[in-house]
Subunit: 301 residues, 2 copies
């Protein structure tokens, strides 16, 4: 099946045509500028692909949030109160559906990436698991009994509270909460704390930064693990490049769980694992969204 995928990100919008991470027939990245111009370039990409390669059955959009996902809401398909300048109350689904005339699926970037790691990546075969990405920001998507969570909106897991590590008085960088998980452990937080990006750290500072990162990610994961009981935690994003982050993270999580509920699986190496799909997780997840919306649309499949 020939599907389209859009992943909107803070710096670029990835568009592709295909049916899975191993079946991509066209791909482009558009810099994230003003919404109108950026979306116009997205439309041009797909119009050219349709003209040259034939029609698409459906398109999926995986976007940074917050998003309005309630189908009955007048702003369904919109980004809502985004901290990204100019991108609050931007309609993503409408222009794409109306201009290209195909069913459009829509979800958060992390929900899409979770679905994608579940189908093709590190969570294959599981039905209840977590995907967390720690890059400039922190977000996570949970798959519960095979489905992502859509309740009153969608999860915002980067904003859970985490206790400060002993002696750490860093105020955090979250514009809403200061020292939530994102405020303490995102790439932006590392940069604010150390005065340089994670990639530029070395020596003692790199060791100290990695230990702190592991401790704060573990503190956030403790809350997510106690609330969603995942079979596995898959972690992606730039901070996973910190050396030895994973063993430190496993040790920190074991410590903060403090022997409760005493599941040996929580301490196993296969409980916390790196993501497999890298930057393709989001766009490939958008292909799943496209496929699902097609399956729900009469005459599409």
């Amino acid at each position: 099946m020939r599907l389209g995928a859009v992943e909107t990100g803070g710096t670029k919008v990835v568009c592709l045509v295909g049916s899975g991470p191993d079946h991509i027939v066209a791909q482009t990245a558009i810099p994230t500028g003003e919404p109108v111009e950026t979306l116009a370039q997205v439309l041009v990409f797909f119009q050219q692909e349709v003209a040259s390669g034939g029609p698409l059955a459906a398109i999926g959009i995986a976007s940074f949030g917050p998003l309005e996902l309630r189908r009955s809401h007048p702003r369904y398909g919109f980004i809502t109160t985004s901290p990204k300048p100019g991108w609050s109350y931007v309609d993503l689904v409408g222009p794409i559906r109306n201009t290209l005339g195909v069913p459009v699926g829509f979800d958060t970037d992390v929900n899409a990436a979770a679905l994608s790691e579940g189908r093709w990546g590190s969570a294959r075969g599981l039905d209840t698991f977590l995907y967390l990405t720690a890059g400039t920001g922190i977000g996570a998507g949970a798959v519960i009994n095979g489905e992502v969570i859509h309740g009153l909106g969608h999860p915002e897991m980067g904003h859970v509270s985490v206790p400060h590590q002993p002696g750490d008085d860093f105020a955090g960088t979250c514009p809403f909460h200061g020292d939530c998980l994102e405020g303490m452990a995102s790439g932006a937080a590392i940069a604010a704390r150390w005065g340089c990006s994670a990639e530029q750290l070395d020596g003692e500072a790199l060791l100290a930064a990695t230990r702190l990162e592991a401790a704060y990610l573990a503190a956030g994961l403790r809350n997510i693990v106690y609330i969603t009981a995942p079979q596995r935690v898959v972690i992606g994003g730039g901070v996973t490049g910190l050396p030895d982050l994973f063993p430190l993270l496993r040790a920190s999580l074991t410590q903060t769980l403090a022997g409760y509920p005493n599941l040996v699986e929580h301490t196993a190496e296969e409980f916390i694992v790196p993501a497999e799909l890298g930057p393709l997780a989001g766009p490939a997840g958008a292909l799943i969204l496209a496929h699902r919306t097609c399956a729900r649309s009469p005459g599409c499949l």
Copy 2:
């Protein structure tokens, strides 16, 4: 349909026969003593009910945890590492299924109560919501897309971390974590902090205790709300008897969410509501477990 229900609790085991909270034909409460004697009394109750009123289609068990819920596990149907003396590694499902010869459903008390509030109580008509009970301990069950969460075990939401309120150096009462949500806000924590039970407090102490309780419950709910995006939060348990707890809790949650993700629904009175079913929530939920296991068992329905 004639179903059986068992809710095991810290002080008593409630057993009933019926099909819903308004259709209970027999009920008893057995003091929670040693496991063997207690379970023997449960079996006698159901054997007498079968002899006098006819066979049961299935029985549901809603239990304090932690529980082994993985059907493929050799200890499926057991309580696992319970802090309750004598009740670790007790098989609940086996004796009841083998002695009474009916299909047996099994889940945590809070998962069962969540299902029950969803069918007959304060969460009717919703598919993604939370039930939290704050009594001697704190536990919560989430319904996500109509189903409770079963991953690697089940949620243990009472053990999420909560930041201390300014100036509060109370160490908490959780034997594992000290100052987790349960350690700071359970009935046991209130008793340890104030030297008397919540019901015995009055005057300034009652006001102060209620404000603290609202603040800590809100801190825990913030994490649960960011992780599960519930359409509603239903709260039961003894501490809901604290005067004006609900308005204070709504105000504290609004404060800790800090305007993110700016959903007006989070501040509405119908977002955080009292449970409707009271002590019947768990046993009535066990009837739902019984019905569901019957629906999965050939020849039962």
